[in-house]
């Protein structure tokens, strides 16, 4: 045990809090804005304790005005601050889509590089808590479509901390997508203020030779569990890759893996149409055309608004069995899963 405690274990939530605290201590210009992040301590308690340490000037409770909160962040960033805006869930970011896309993402280009928008917009996504059709969706695909944005989707405590620190130091607007179901999950987090995780570098969560499984956001964890099952029950050695950031995307690491396994499954929680999986499947099918022994398989959330009722919610987003079945399918093992040519 002692040996393993060299690295402290933190919850994903605590790792995010630590990243915010360290960056606020390091850089006076970093400030936080969001609904109930201060006195209430944050809807998911990520900012708990920060008001006490940094005061109302730097930890600002806002009215419920998503579009304007983000826009205030854009203006403050243009004027030299490093605002980190929390939106309570990604679903509410749709109210701020104008400031995120038409302003934050495009100002640097529109003004020929004369202005910068070093803004971070943090928000959680994901199903599993029966929050129903207005609170449960995974919308990373909407953001990765937009040039000018960086998009991060950390799946572990270590990546949550390292990527958030990088995001705050980045000169570009960053959409930082957390996952509600991961907040309570513990993981080892390397100590040290300057342990950043670079954007654009995928994490190979598990090495393997038979099939490449790419998992997005929380689905990186699901993919890892599926890989264990594949090894234990099917003797299949899967490589699991978590891109960690969708913009920039570390396609090289994914392609290198697919070139050795010749098979690929992409797992995402969001909707299938025009999703992250579609984007990756297109890129992989284009880039590794001659290396693929089977079509890239996608396992995605169901193409429905997220229902409240537990049994419906359960089947509306992917779990290990679907990932296992998809992986076996690329290997021609198990029942072919309908449709297809």
């Amino acid at each position: 045990m002692q040996g393993r405690r060299l690295m402290p274990e933190l919850r994903y939530r605590e790792a995010l809090g630590a990243a915010l605290r360290e960056e606020m201590r390091r850089d006076e210009r970093v400030l936080l804005m969001g609904e109930d992040i201060g006195v209430f301590g944050g809807a998911f308690k990520v900012t708990d304790g920060l008001l006490e340490e940094f005061g109302e000037k730097r930890v600002r409770d806002t009215p419920i005005s998503e579009n304007t909160i983000v826009g205030v962040g854009v203006g403050a960033a243009m004027a030299g601050l490093r605002p980190v805006v929390e939106l309570m869930t990604i679903n509410f970011a749709l109210l701020a889509f104008d400031q995120i896309v038409n302003h934050a993402a495009h100002i640097h280009y529109m003004f020929a590089g004369h202005a910068r928008v070093p803004l971070v917009v943090r928000m959680p996504q994901g199903a599993g808590h029966q929050l129903g059709p207005t609170h449960s969706h995974c919308l990373e695909a909407l953001f990765l479509h937009i040039p000018g944005l960086l998009v991060a989707t950390p799946a572990t405590a270590a990546d949550a901390k390292g990527l958030l620190k990088s995001a705050i130091r980045d000169e570009n607007p960053v959409i930082f997508i957390e996952h509600e179901s991961l907040y309570g999950v513990r993981g080892e987090v390397p100590d040290g203020d300057d342990l950043l995780v670079d954007f654009g570098r995928a994490r190979v969560a598990r090495a393997g030779a038979d099939v490449t499984i790419v998992g997005i956001s929380r689905m990186a964890i699901t993919a890892e569990r599926a890989a264990e099952t594949l090894a234990d029950e099917h003797g299949v050695d899967a490589e699991v890759i978590d891109p960690r950031t969708l913009r920039p995307l570390d396609l090289d690491t994914i392609l290198a893996s697919v070139r050795t396994t010749n098979r690929c499954v992409i797992v995402e929680e969001g909707w299938p149409h025009g999703g992250v999986g579609a984007n990756l499947a297109a890129l992989i099918s284009e880039q590794a055309f001659d290396d693929l022994d089977a079509p890239v398989r996608r396992v995605s959330g169901a193409d429905v608004p997220m229902p409240y009722s537990k049994p419906l919610e359960d089947i509306a987003y992917p779990h290990e069995p679907q990932v296992v079945a998809a992986a076996l399918d690329t290997l021609g093992v198990g029942a072919p899963a309908g449709g297809g040519s």
Binding site: F40, L95, D303, A316, Q322, G338, G339
Partner: protein, 389 residues
């Protein structure tokens, strides 16, 4: 629903400020039912019978009954994620509201919406909405339809103090005033938006005035007093119905419980909560009725016991109601059949029949959703769902 006769403030005259005995009794019954219902919902949440977020209106019942009873049956009511009471006051059986909380097929939203998304179009309750401020534009649209069709209906749009900071507030009030839409905007000022107090989220705290410079005059009512709420809303609704232009009503009240079930409430003092609890609208109105001789202690007890019994029945009913079948997952994403265009309109939407063709979504949705991920999903989904259910 409320008395068939036209609701008017005058109703309050006959018995010195009180309505007709039957009406008064029904108000007390309904406020008590909402209270007991939500207390029990809280217990069911603790027992994991209810999932997601559960926002209770405990303490705010007078704003619900006082306002809804000032409506005609045909008027529209639209609310937020804190809307169990709004469904109940409109006449949705507690059984179906509880079944919604339980996520069952007999829920008023078929188990699809849960606590935050109640709905009963048959009773002109046009829904609870999970997006703060999201219901305001929709309310204006309902009122526009009433005018368009030349009906006398008005729309009562209920939202919170925190929602008044959302962009839709300014946009909708301006359009409603400009287009002379018959909407009563009722801001339920319970002093907090989640953990942020009114003074900390709104520059103007006299909320009845917050619509003035947008063209919507306002009034205030005591949201802890069902009589005052009813009287003020009757007048406001009558004016809106007649003058065909919007009004804003601020109902001053207080939320006795946390914002949702998971709320440590560090943002307010026990004392403050206690002070407001002294003004609990239900005992207050009960005593008022006893003092006026409309009911006696026994009847008050009976009313409470009836409410508790009704809620017991609702829990039993909800527990007995089945969960939605996995193969219904893809139902009602789209309206299929009559009136909808394209190939999918000629497909049946009967899941059973489709299921027999199994897997239905790959059939019904193949072209819209691609050929592999959906069948994949669904076949696994079904498997998963069955041992999950």
């Amino acid at each position: 629903m409320g008395s068939a006769q036209e609701p008017t403030g005058d109703l309050l005259e006959p018995t010195g400020g009180l309505p007709e005995p039957d009406v008064a009794r029904e108000w007390l019954q309904t406020m008590t039912l909402i209270r007991r219902f939500e207390e029990r919902a809280g217990e069911m949440y603790a027992r994991a019978k209810v999932g997601g977020f559960l926002h209770l209106s405990i303490g705010e019942e007078a704003t619900i009954v006082g306002s809804a009873r000032a409506l005609r049956e045909h008027d529209y009511l639209i609310s937020t994620y804190r809307s169990h009471g709004h469904a109940l006051v409109r006449g949705t059986p507690p059984e179906n509201v509880m079944a919604e909380l339980f996520g069952r097929v007999d829920g008023c939203s078929g188990g699809r919406g849960g606590s935050m998304h109640m709905f009963d179009i048959g009773r002109r309750f046009m829904g609870g909405y999970g997006i703060v401020g999201g219901n305001l534009p929709i309310a204006a649209g309902l009122a526009l339809a009433s005018d368009y069709e030349g009906s006398e209906d008005i729309t009562l749009c209920v939202f919170g103090d925190g929602a008044s900071n959302q962009g839709t507030f300014g946009e909708t009030l301006n359009i409603a005033a400009l287009w002379k839409l018959p909407v009563v905007f009722m801001v339920t000022n319970n002093q907090f938006g989640m953990g942020t107090s009114l003074q900390r989220h709104s520059a103007v705290t006299d909320l009845q005035r917050k619509g003035e410079s947008l063209g919507v005059p306002g009034v205030r009512c005591d949201g802890m007093d069902v009589l005052d709420t009813y009287a003020v809303l009757c007048e406001a609704i009558a004016r809106v119905r007649e003058e065909r232009r919007p009004l804003l009503v601020e109902a001053v009240t207080y939320r006795f419980r946390g914002h949702s079930m998971a709320d440590p409430e560090q943002y307010r003092s026990k004392e403050e909560v206690a002070r407001w609890r002294e003004r609990d609208p239900i005992p207050a109105f009960g005593e008022r009725l006893i003092r006026a001789g409309v009911i006696d202690e026994d009847e008050r007890r009976r009313i409470d016991e009836e409410a508790i019994a009704r809620v017991d029945g609702a829990v039993e009913f909800a527990d007995a109601s089945p969960f939605p079948a996995p193969e219904t997952l893809y139902d009602d994403v789209y309206v299929l059949g009559e009136g909808s265009s394209g190939w999918y309109s000629v497909r049946t939407t009967d899941p059973v029949q489709d299921a027999s063709e199994g897997p239905p979504p790959s059939d019904r949705f193949s072209q819209a959703d691609g050929r592999d991920e959906i069948p994949q999903q669904m076949s696994d989904a079904l498997a998963h769902g069955e041992d999950g259910a």
